[in-house]
């Protein structure tokens, strides 16, 4: 293993020397972010190679207005909220599910199937599934919506916060941060959408897009491939996660997403409105849409906390540059969502990144 690592490192070092400038590579997957920190990859890189942690954590990119709607629904006595664990601490305007709501009203689930089961077990209440995540979790949400329709589980609905990765990458390179040289593309998402999905970013914006798995070896090889392309003046789509990621992805999962959802303009925490970047249930399944069922009109909320998660998510600043980091914003009492999820950039910095100079 070490030999392959040294080889990739040599490619990176050569590219850095050849280009003679800082190279900025953004990863857009929270699991990559954590793996990079946990395995100390940064400490092994050339000084000119900088890794930026992009909007890869679904909790972090969820807009505050979405949290506020969840909090609003959780106040109702006729509702049970089914949510993934890391959403319970995300602050909205008036608190979080953990601090504000009686716990009996909020159930942490590990899967969409658990949420549907909760509805079957509690027929007297409406179960609202807090459906967040990228293309990785969207298929499993779609499956349970179809199942609820087929089985007539009418006390089940979802609040869709599902987001699409490629529109965010497009927004980043076209508007938000022109200094991104290349993307280390997410492994899990690519299993579903296939690495062909990043062609637009590579071809139109001239940025190498390389899919990698989560083992440190694969990440380093992915970074090596990106550096090779940059040094050679190329911008291609490639996967070094060949065991599971194909060019076309998983057509069955794509089909079920398309069958249940349609892409609409949506708000991202810190990135604002991005065209066709959020998934909404199609009219056919409209009765399972919590917004329709409870007649809620969504209004994007202004972030007034002074938290700079938005700039962190765009790779414009590193967490320690935010005045709140480690001071009023810690994992115990997060101000911004990047500090909440274990995959959030700020949480990863807090946990692993606060080092003295760790270069050997």
């Amino acid at each position: 293993m070490l030999e392959r690592i040294y080889r990739a490192q040599k490619v990176m070092d050569d590219a850095c020397k050849r280009l003679g400038r800082q190279i900025n590579i953004m990863e857009v997957c929270g699991t990559h972010t954590v793996s990079i920190f946990r395995t100390g990859i940064r400490s092994t890189l050339h000084d000119n190679l900088k890794l930026l942690s992009g909007p890869g954590c679904p909790v972090c990119v969820t807009d505050q207005s979405y949290i506020d709607i969840v909090l609003q629904l959780a106040e109702r006595r006729d509702v049970l909220i089914a949510t993934y664990g890391d959403m319970v601490r995300v602050p909205g305007k008036t608190g979080s599910l953990e601090t504000k709501q009686p716990h009996s009203n909020v159930k942490v689930v590990l899967s969409s199937e658990d949420a549907l089961q909760l509805a079957k077990d509690n027929r007297g209440k409406t179960v609202v599934f807090v459906a967040i995540g990228f293309e990785t979790t969207a298929p499993s949400t779609a499956v349970v919506v179809k199942q609820a329709a087929a089985e007539g589980v009418d006390n089940f609905c979802i609040l869709s916060g599902h987001k699409l990765v490629v529109p965010a990458m497009r927004a980043l390179v076209s508007e938000k941060n022109h200094n991104i040289d290349a993307f280390l593309c997410p492994g899990h998402v690519s299993v579903i959408i296939g690495y062909r999905a990043f062609a637009e970013i590579a071809e139109r914006f001239d940025r190498p897009c390389v899919v990698a798995g989560f083992e440190p070896m694969q990440i380093i090889e992915g970074l090596g491939e990106i550096c090779r392309q940059l040094a050679a003046g190329e911008a291609e789509i490639k996967s070094v996660y060949t065991a599971v990621v194909t060019e076309q992805g998983n057509p069955t999962a794509q089909k079920i997403i398309n069958e249940c959802f349609e892409p609409v303009d949506g708000y991202w925490r810190g990135l604002g409105k991005i065209q066709e970047s959020t998934l909404r249930l199609r009219d056919k399944y409209g009765r399972f849409d919590a917004l329709k069922r409870f007649e809620i009109t969504e209004a994007p909320a202004e972030d007034s906390t002074g938290c700079r998660c938005g700039e962190v998510l765009c790779g414009l600043i590193e967490p320690p540059e935010c005045a709140l980091f480690e001071k009023s914003c810690t994992p115990q009492s997060p101000v911004g969502p990047c500090m909440v999820s274990s995959e959030g950039t700020c949480a990863a910095w807090f946990k692993y990144g606060r080092t003295r100079n760790t270069k050997q």
Binding site: S43, D86, M217, Q332, S341, S342, F350, Y352, T358
Partner: protein
């Protein structure tokens, strides 16, 4: 066992009357009885072999009550035994305090008492004093247990942060994260839990063998809540020295690593219930490993790092498998399973 006319524990079982007496004599004593306890006196009278003792207490509220590799009863004995063991003593006596929710099934209660008796026997400690309280339904979740324990300090053994020196080796007696990932997986209802098994075990026999047969052990601690990360940080802060560990040398079972990866946990922060970390002089390290490896609870023992000079503030640093370096922080509390 004949439970009389009740299948569940009633509030009246804690009322001090006939039902209380029946609960104690019929359901509690049989599994754990000994001469001292049998007197059912207000206090246990103990004739100890030494005036120098260790004394500790701990409460057990684990959910689920029964898990692969143990239950709350076994944990309540082993946990307190281990606290006495790593302080350099031989555990001799425990107290047992049971707080029971009204409506708790006798069948489960007896199973737990059976585990307590078995664990006490295996660890050669007597339960010499006890108390039972019952509370209204909803006032607590099924059963909580408190045990306190006394251990006789081993002659010539004096462990402490102040003994730790630069160059000392860090030894662990086996794989980390087994208990915590078993509990978390069972609690979260993850389907692969069958492979996971808590390491819950009493360590006194092994620690006594080590302390009696080697010189050079400076400090011991059992890495329970907060895992290896918390214990190493405590040792670093307490001694004022920094610690360097090597990820490649820390034993982790593949199924534990897989469960931790899936849920987004760092295995180094996950609880153990049958492990100790020992800080030993370089000369004593091999001897300690040999003793460990001959014992069932130390087969996978290894040296995972060293105590090093502190440059500015005491920290714990890890060299990762790929040769990167990172700081191992004190864990900050309850972690939440991630979404994908």
């Amino acid at each position: 066992m004949n439970r009389g006319k009740h299948d569940t524990i009633l509030l009246a079982h804690g009322g001090g009357g006939q039902l209380s007496d029946e609960l104690i004599r019929r359901h509690i004593l049989p599994g754990i009885n000994n001469d001292t306890l049998a007197e059912l006196a207000d206090s246990a009278k103990l004739d100890l072999a030494s005036k120098s003792v260790c004394f500790t207490t701990d409460s057990y509220v684990v959910k689920p009550l029964f898990f692969n590799g143990g239950d709350i009863g076994k944990l309540a004995v082993c946990g307190t035994v281990n606290d006495l063991a790593v302080a350099g003593s031989r555990p001799v006596a425990l107290s047992l305090s049971l707080l029971i929710e009204e409506g708790f099934e006798f069948e489960l209660f007896e199973k737990i008492l059976g585990s307590i008796g078995k664990a006490a026997k295996e660890n050669r400690v007597n339960i010499v004093a006890g108390d039972t309280k019952t509370v209204e339904a909803g006032a607590l979740d099924k059963i909580f247990i408190n045990t306190a324990g006394i251990g006789i300090r081993l002659a010539g053994v004096d462990l402490g942060f102040d003994k730790i020196e630069v160059g000392d080796r860090i030894i662990i007696n086996g794989s980390i994260g087994d208990h915590g990932m078993t509990i978390i997986s069972q609690r979260e209802g993850i389907k692969f839990e069958s492979q996971l098994r808590s390491d819950c075990a009493g360590l006194a026999e092994l620690t006594c063998q080590l302390l009696e047969n080697t010189r050079g052990i400076k400090f011991m601690r059992d890495p329970t809540r907060g895992g290896l990360a918390a214990t190493l940080n405590e040792i670093s802060r307490g001694s004022g020295h920094s610690i360097e560990i090597r990820e490649a040398d820390i034993p982790v079972k593949p199924c534990v690593q897989a469960a931790a990866d899936m849920l987004g946990f760092d295995v180094i922060t996950i609880a153990n219930e049958g492990k100790f970390v020992a800080i030993v002089s370089p000369e004593a390290a091999e001897g300690c490993l040999n003793i460990c490896r001959r014992h069932t609870l130390g087969r996978e023992a290894g040296i995972i790092g060293e105590v090093v000079q502190t440059r500015d503030v005491p920290i714990v640093e890890m060299t990762t498998k790929i040769g990167g370096r990172r700081i191992v922080q004190m864990p900050y509390g309850r972690e939440l399973p991630r979404i994908c």
